[in-house]
């Protein structure tokens, strides 16, 4: 179980606001976070990862993460802009996290990147880079996988492919996952729970059917 209580003053698109989130997430679940730009979604993930300070209480499997450095948090993070180590090959990006060749081989096979293992990441396409970023995030077998709009920079074909791979990895590793998404279709296909954030507050929280099917207005506005 992951318990999160975060309070932080932010400058949103409509002026100052308080990010005020209090929620529990079941082990192994896949949660999508939706909401307008500037509603505090990315900050929520960054505070969870320890990359930003906030008044927070984060408990993962009974252990408090409040004073833990990002290095000790066992987090996998997929950034929107990939953030790959550009001086390294695909395989080196993975092995830099953990020297576990079996795991890197398995991840590259799952995401069909084996043929690109020795390629420098600078030479890859956007979709390939995001798949490497996903594999890298899984290399330390994280307790929580955080993804900040992993699909938004990709065209539809590539988005569908990555979506499948995210789903495959989640089935295989059963990692508790939080994904920010603007795409209602992807959120619906991947998640079992959806949160909608507005001005730093959770305004909708429920199963994908409750949030997306019944709330047609939200579905179409996203």
């Amino acid at each position: 179980m992951v318990e999160i209580a975060i309070k932080k003053r932010l400058q949103g698109t409509k002026g100052d606001m308080i990010l005020d989130v209090d929620l529990q997430i079941k082990q192994g679940s896949f949660v999508s976070i939706m909401g307008e730009s500037g509603s505090g979604k990315t900050t929520l993930l960054r505070v969870l990862a320890g990359l930003e300070k906030a008044k927070s209480k984060i408990v993962v499997d009974g252990n408090s993460w409040d004073n833990l450095l990002p290095q000790k948090r066992e987090i996998g993070f997929v950034f929107q802009d990939y953030a790959l180590f550009e001086n390294m090959t695909v395989e080196q990006n993975l092995l830099f996290v953990r020297d576990d060749k079996n795991l890197s081989k398995k991840l590259l096979e799952l995401t069909e990147l084996t043929a690109l293992a020795t390629r420098n990441v600078k030479t890859l396409s956007g979709g390939q880079k995001q798949r490497v970023s996903l594999c890298r995030a899984m290399m330390n077998r994280p307790k929580i996988l955080l993804m900040d709009e992993p699909l938004s920079a990709l065209d539809e074909k590539m988005r569908n492919k990555l979506q499948e791979e995210i789903s495959k990895l989640h089935r295989d590793f059963k990692t508790t996952t939080l994904m920010i998404s603007h795409d209602a279709k992807s959120s619906y296909l991947l998640s079992d729970r959806i949160l909608v954030l507005d001005q730093g507050k959770i305004i909708k929280d429920g199963s994908k059917d409750e949030v997306l099917k019944k709330e047609q207005k939200i579905l179409y506005s996203l």
Partner: protein, 223 residues
């Protein structure tokens, strides 16, 4: 022809570059990451040697290292070290003089890096030191080469501060630039031409190397 002044120049530049790299690496990293109010003050202090006349900087260093000053006296009494008119004194003076040429390119290089890339390294369990060494520096090779080579070349070309702090002691503090000045003073223009020609050739070669390297790095980035 006596090549000793060139040897001293290169020895001085090499040692200064190594010392400055060790000092400037954590300092420029800190400058690139901090939002501290002291940052503009420290940046201005670091950049001072660029705008100050070398004689002003040389004068202050001369005063600070002099055995009559508190610092100079302390070094002499407790360690038996006299820095004025010695090679070690030249290294100290050059380290002050060339500091901005190491700090500024490194700071710019660190600031140009994708912040998420550094954060990805932290989330991979890597410390700041490991992140600087394995992720930051390899991804800013042009800035790194500019810092190292320009610091080296600038120290080789130093004149005013060196003359004031080190004088012109043969085989000790007489670097190439000071040797040329001495030759002109005694109107030995032939030797002055040869020494100056060597300096021009070497400086051009060093700069050419920097530009070729940086250009090749940009091409790799485009591929």
């Amino acid at each position: 022809m006596d090549m000793t002044p060139f040897v001293i120049s290169f020895k001085l530049a090499g040692i200064t570059t190594i010392i400055l790299f060790i000092i400037a690496l954590p300092f420029s990293w800190w400058l690139s990451q901090t939002n501290s109010k002291s940052k503009p003050f420290l940046e201005a202090m670091t950049a001072l040697p660029i705008v100050l006349p070398p004689s002003v900087l040389g004068f202050y260093i001369l005063m600070i290292l002099s055995p009559n000053s508190f610092f100079g006296n302390f070094l002499q009494e407790h360690f038996g070290v006299e820095l004025l008119f010695s090679f070690t004194g030249l290294v100290v003076a050059s380290s002050f003089y060339s500091l901005p040429f190491m700090v500024q390119p490194l700071q710019n290089g660190f600031e140009s890096l994708n912040r998420h890339m550094l954060e990805a390294s932290y989330l991979s369990g890597k410390s700041k030191l490991q992140t600087i060494w394995y992720v930051a520096l390899p991804n800013m090779k042009p800035a790194l080469s500019t810092a190292l080579i320009i610091t080296f070349a600038h120290t080789v070309g130093e004149f005013g501060v060196v003359l004031m702090v080190g004088g012109s002691i043969p085989n000790e503090t007489k670097v190439a630039s000071v040797a040329i000045y001495d030759m002109v003073e005694v109107m030995d223009y032939t030797k002055a031409y040869i020494y100056s020609g060597i300096m021009v050739g070497m400086s051009f070669f060093v700069l050419l190397l920097v530009y070729i390297f940086n250009h090749s790095q940009k091409k790799v980035g485009i591929l």
